[in-house]
Symmetry: C2
Subunit: 607 residues, 2 copies
Amino acid sequence: MRSSIKRLLIGRPLKSTELGEQKLNILKALAILSSDALSSVAYGTEQILLVLATIGAVAYWYSVPIAVGVLFLLAALIISYRQIIFSYPQGGGAYVVSKENLGVNPGLIAGGSLLVDYILTVAVSVSAGTDAITSAFPVLHQHTVLIASILVVFITVLNLRGITESATILAYPVYLFVVAIFILIGVGVYKILTGDISATVHDPIGTPVMGITLFLLLRAFASGCSALTGVEAISNAIPNFKEPSPNNAAKTLILMGSLLALLFSGITFLAYYYGISPKADETVVSQIAKLTFGRNYLYFFIQGTTALILVLAANTGYSAFPLLAFSLAKDKYMPRMFLIRGDRLGYSNGIVSLGVASILLIIAFHGQTERLIPLYAVGVFIPFTLSQTGMIIKWLREKPAGWVAKLSANLIGALITLTVLIIFFATKFSQVWFVFIFLPLIVLLFHRINRHYEAVGEQLRTYSETPAVPVEGNVIIVPVAGITRVVENSVNYAKSLTDQVLAVYVSFDREDEKRFEEKWEKWQPDVRLVTLQSHYRSILQPLSKFIDTIEHKASESNYRVTVLIPQFIPKKSWHNILHNQSSVLIRAYLIFKKNVIVATLPYHFKK
Amino acid sequence: MRSSIKRLLIGRPLKSTELGEQKLNILKALAILSSDALSSVAYGTEQILLVLATIGAVAYWYSVPIAVGVLFLLAALIISYRQIIFSYPQGGGAYVVSKENLGVNPGLIAGGSLLVDYILTVAVSVSAGTDAITSAFPVLHQHTVLIASILVVFITVLNLRGITESATILAYPVYLFVVAIFILIGVGVYKILTGDISATVHDPIGTPVMGITLFLLLRAFASGCSALTGVEAISNAIPNFKEPSPNNAAKTLILMGSLLALLFSGITFLAYYYGISPKADETVVSQIAKLTFGRNYLYFFIQGTTALILVLAANTGYSAFPLLAFSLAKDKYMPRMFLIRGDRLGYSNGIVSLGVASILLIIAFHGQTERLIPLYAVGVFIPFTLSQTGMIIKWLREKPAGWVAKLSANLIGALITLTVLIIFFATKFSQVWFVFIFLPLIVLLFHRINRHYEAVGEQLRTYSETPAVPVEGNVIIVPVAGITRVVENSVNYAKSLTDQVLAVYVSFDREDEKRFEEKWEKWQPDVRLVTLQSHYRSILQPLSKFIDTIEHKASESNYRVTVLIPQFIPKKSWHNILHNQSSVLIRAYLIFKKNVIVATLPYHFKK
């Protein structure tokens, strides 16, 4: 039953040899890895205008130079991550770069903040998409959390089906969005050129603005930089690319950067030229589309694809999170389960964990995750800065051919991202201070996990200084409850393994004890019977005490103690309630508390 | 932690030898076993008047002859149950009597309806007590279900502490109630004799009544019979009495019958003489008390003790249910767990089951359990009738000295209870038809349970025709995941038990397989290694297939197959998440699906 539901949802299991078919070509990779970055086009310009609006419409022209600054940073990041891709073709991105060049802790900080960031990506983008849906159908408004959770489950299942399948499905909405925005920009520019749009509604660039401050401009710039989240995803996901994966990843990165630059500058230019003010109840993109097309089908096409891309931005998290978790797990900083490929060859534990964590976040914030956006931007710029700095150290140390140019690219990148980060902390401290608490906690957790695995490894190593304890012989203890076929089987089995078989009977009163001893003497005269008195009607307590005694004696002469417990396996599961199954309790207790081997002899009832 | 909470709630465990101290003397037994019957005084008269009120106040005088009829039935029941107590001194009441004399199915019908009845007793009486509380404190009204559930938990815990302890505590309210009603009757009769109460408010007995029908009188009689529920409880609980238990139980029964007769006739007489009409918002007892005392402290004393006895009526169920369940479990009609004495020597599984079932009923009916009262009366009169009929058969078969008198008592009892039962079905069919569905289902369930235990017993018997399979030798399969200290321990242990040790390694690719085989050859050249290819990255599937092959070969030559699985036991429980614990899954699968012994070798991490 469970298994066939699983088959229906995620499809038949794939052989390990089919892994090659699960690799992405450039077009598909672009679709799923760039959705986060490209979706920023829907709100990046608006973020800049929102800050400038505090001064007044006259300040809007500053959006153009600020956008140029963002594009400059984008170029620096693309160049820098291209270098990272070729230097670290096994993937891992900022985590690996920082760990290799700056040390373990910077690596863990980069990795931890990216992991948290991908969870935030999913929660924030799905919540944004849900808002778009509930704005269109207000009756659904009270079910925001439920709808968002269903969307997360849907994306999770899609990703569990495997990366190529999700890429195939998700490519359509992503490219539709790109096409839609290109049409919007194209028609807008055409209308400007033909004079359909009045040039008088905006102030020319360079118009003096009263009250503008550097602080405000920096804040607007930092807000605009939120368009750059998601740029790092490709560097984490290199192993998902078809061979030669670094080259394909680098090409995808360049393509993504170019698309993002074109769309972002187009939208920013139109917003400036149209003289658009940010409004509480209508997005900037919606205003541009309405002015360009009127409320016709093209307008709704823009709006629909925008809502879709917002939801699908989540998918970038699904591509990058499991691979990053894999890198951390491989280095023993995260649980081993993140190393396992699921039925469809994806790292399903990572995919499911991401889904569960985002649903928890959505529930905790009642679907109002906008408050998390500043946290999310900080979570990206910390690894941006760390990875660039790491690359600087690398170039200084290795000094390969043309290292000065490479170093310059990373140096510029590092300086800008660090500046953005400082601006974030300076201007939005009340919203991002939480980072200073949870990042150290995460790094601490990584270290605790690592310490445990190291300790385990040490204990498991065969060449450690203490040699393995030799086994000189065996004692098998068989708790018996009566004279039955099961006891007969157990005793016969134990006798076939060793001569030292001890049957143990727990009796609740003297007469019962005597009666049983007599019966046993007739039935199994060659097996020693030990009877234990239980004053409190507990089987476990006297048995546990007895095992302690035997175990103590046995360990002195390097004997192993095995407790053989019969377990009834009823034919129908409701029958379980008819058997007290004390065997299950006894076994659990012994395994966890004692140093004995516990053997279970199943007795399968035939009816 | 859990254990110390348990100690605090129910006290230190008692030794089995302390059982004698857990027996009841007559005074304590009367308190806990008669609370159900005595509490009927609070509503029995009212039930009669409610039916008569449909004709008018002029019909109220009929309550006197009807009460005489109820007292007559009470006498018949007391005599009859006294005979049952001496004939079946081991307890079990209607179940044992019916089973021995009428056959298994009548016995199961009697037992099943009593079990359900005790659950109803608890739910109905606790709900009635909760109503009394929420009437006094209306703010609590919205928490009815919660308060009722807390009361059930309280009574359950009290009973888990042991029967003497609950009897000691509960004796006070029961005797206070008896004293309170005696004071009420005494003062009332005194006031009538001194002429303080007018004799003109009631019609004299024998006044002709227009429109009265036999059907209506029978219905009033049947309603009055609800005062007799709880009479059978003593016959189920004989084992709880101090020795000589049958004599003590019989004395308690007579005492209870006399008290019930006195209180019931007193209240009925006062109600008639005072000319009281049943009201929706005030009970008959409250009206009598108000007329007798006015609203002074004696009035509140009557009201308070009445509310208490209504809640404590539940306790009768707690005394009788576990013992009846024990009787049924001893005959293999109920799960074996009802045979086990808990820490305080009560049959704690019965006590807890009763508590859980009543809370479920209270939740299902939102605390409005009055609708269950007719069902509850039917549930008592079915075993009443069956047990009397059983006794008739017994006397006819055994014909002991004075059997004619004994038979007459039971014959009269049987005829009356059967009549009452027929009246119930005739007059309240819409409320009690459900009995015809659930009683057959319960009897069916009893039979299914019995059939399972019989089948199990047959399979466990050592002298069955098929001899036990001999054990000629052993094969031990050791799944290995690498070359570690745990594997070394496992292999050493297996080698100490048999020469036939097979190490099994599941590999996910060819190179890994080769590499491991080479390493193994150097490390454990004398242990045969089998490598299995897993195309789908599952360890379980190839292992399961391999075990099937080995098991098939082994069973031909009477060899036993043991699978030895190491299990990591981390020092801290959070560490469990860091280990995939596939061993736990593999073990569960093998135990349930295969015919192999599974031995678990625990590896306790030291840090």
